[in-house]
């Protein structure tokens, strides 16, 4: 052991060196945000809770109950019921997404041929009651307010 090593070990050289890195962050730029007060908006492609899209003018849903999303869903968590409407066309009666099973893969959005279902940027949906995670048609239509992207882009 040379003089240098003795000097190093008696002065806690490594600790000082480590602390110098730590110290440099006292003056550097802050990288964290205080979450509930400040928020970082998610990116456009973010896959949050789904919504059903309605036509902005007529208010009618784009969805025509074709069951593609329910079939492609890897965890079988979309439940669709349809019946024959007054004019003979298919009519969507209920559209339920079971969020307790959903894995947020985005396949439903991708496969839908009518751009009727989309992933929004909503991610805060914790609840004390599991029944709140069974999303109904009305809830999903309401959730359009969280949709911040332009569909049909890809």
């Amino acid at each position: 052991m040379g003089l240098k090593d003795i000097l190093k070990s008696s002065t806690f050289y490594e600790i000082l060196q480590g602390m110098s890195v730590t110290g440099s962050y006292f003056v550097g730029e802050k990288v964290t945000v205080e979450y509930p007060k400040e928020q970082i908006p998610p990116f456009e492609r973010f896959r949050g809770v789904q919504c059903l899209i309605s036509d902005p003018e007529t208010g009618e849903l784009n969805c025509d109950a074709c069951h593609i999303c329910a079939t492609i869903c890897p965890s079988n968590c979309i439940f669709i019921e349809s019946s024959e409407g007054p004019d003979g066309a298919k009519q969507l009666d209920s559209f339920v997404i079971d969020l307790t099973r959903c894995i947020f893969c985005g396949f439903c959005e991708e496969a839908c041929p009518r751009a009727a279902i989309a992933m929004t940027s909503a991610f805060e949906f914790c609840t004390y009651n599991k029944n709140d995670l069974i999303l109904t048609k009305d809830w999903l239509v309401e959730n359009q307010k969280n949709l911040h992207k332009e569909l049909r882009k890809r």
Binding site: E14, G18, V21, T71, C105, E110, P113, K153, R154
Partner: protein
Amino acid sequence: MAGHESHPTAPPKPRATPEEMRERKRLSRQRVSDDSEFITVSMGPQHPSTHGVYQAVVDLDGEIVVNTRPNIGNLHRGVEKLAEVKSYHRFLPLTDRLDYISSFAMNHAYAEAVEKLMDIEVPRRARYIRTIGDELCRLSNHLLWLGVHVMDFGAQTFFLICFRDREYVMDLWEMLCGARLTHSYARIGGVAADLPDGWVEKCRAAMEFMPRRLAEYQRLVEKNRIFLKRTVGIGIFTREDCVAWRVTGPSLRATGMERDLRKTEPYAAYDEVDFDVAVEYDADVYSRYLVRMKEMYESCRIILQCLDQLPEGDYINQDAPSQTFPRKKQVMRDSAAMVQDFMQTFRGPKVPKGEVYKAIEVPKGEMGVYIVSDGSSIPQRLHLVTPTFYHCQATPALFEGEMISDVVGIFGSVDIVLGDSDR
């Protein structure tokens, strides 16, 4: 590569040679035979140092580990069985949940195997995007590993520093595919979507800045006496052991074996970029750290090269309508694409009869997918050969003859994630 010169790898004390290691293991085996009293300690399954729900029941002679009984399967979800009831497309998101730290690499391995079975081409642009994705996974996986590994030795702050920089990679992923952890980004025949606007610049900026951060880590870790004392010469696992137990990835390369599937059996765009295989020769915990550190520098280099050479073109194969999904844009306009979408969803892809095995190099080692197809749109049998399973099975041999206080560090150094081993 500028980063490579900054490797001050002079070890502070002579390392244990493989001969010494074998002697140590032999002595510990002798202890088993001369029936001395052992203390049995159970580590895990819910202990922060076991990195997941892994239980190791160790027999101790004093402080020396004599015998280990690993106990895995606490996270079993029956993924392989689930594959037998889902079409090839619908199984893809479930591969995210294997090694959830580097999910895209898992998607990629699965997609490569299915493409090999169907014999379809992947467009060149998609291959480049996949290469970038794989390397981003490697980077985020190794950053997480590094933080946790150093935390095992008691350095709490370092974990947060690694997580700060991992965040840049996570942001890139979120921008690219919409998820931070479970990417589901690969598709059969390509990837899910093209690179978004501004992504290339953002990625390039992050990759140019990352080597500087890595050099900072090296400054913190490689000169730290505690870290060196607890890693150098500890947990030696020789090349023969690695081959016998099928330990792959950085742990194998730390023994001096240049086996890297990216080089030996190039897939995606690895044959079009220039990179070195990180190799070390001492086979101890410190060498495994060095290999991963070098791999991170190499990852940045590969990504930068891919961004420079990124070709134009499609991101998903358009010439195999009976195997792949159409692009969403077309589905809205074109009725043929809509029918294709319909058929892929309700009937699934058209697959020939046969068997394939395809392995790729994921951050933790070699990940293989074995598919037996009977010609229908769901696999008859799908087997996932995941690296962590083999790393867990090697733990008795790894721990044998080591001190109990080193077990945590050695276990961390082979890099495991239990979702991968239990499936």
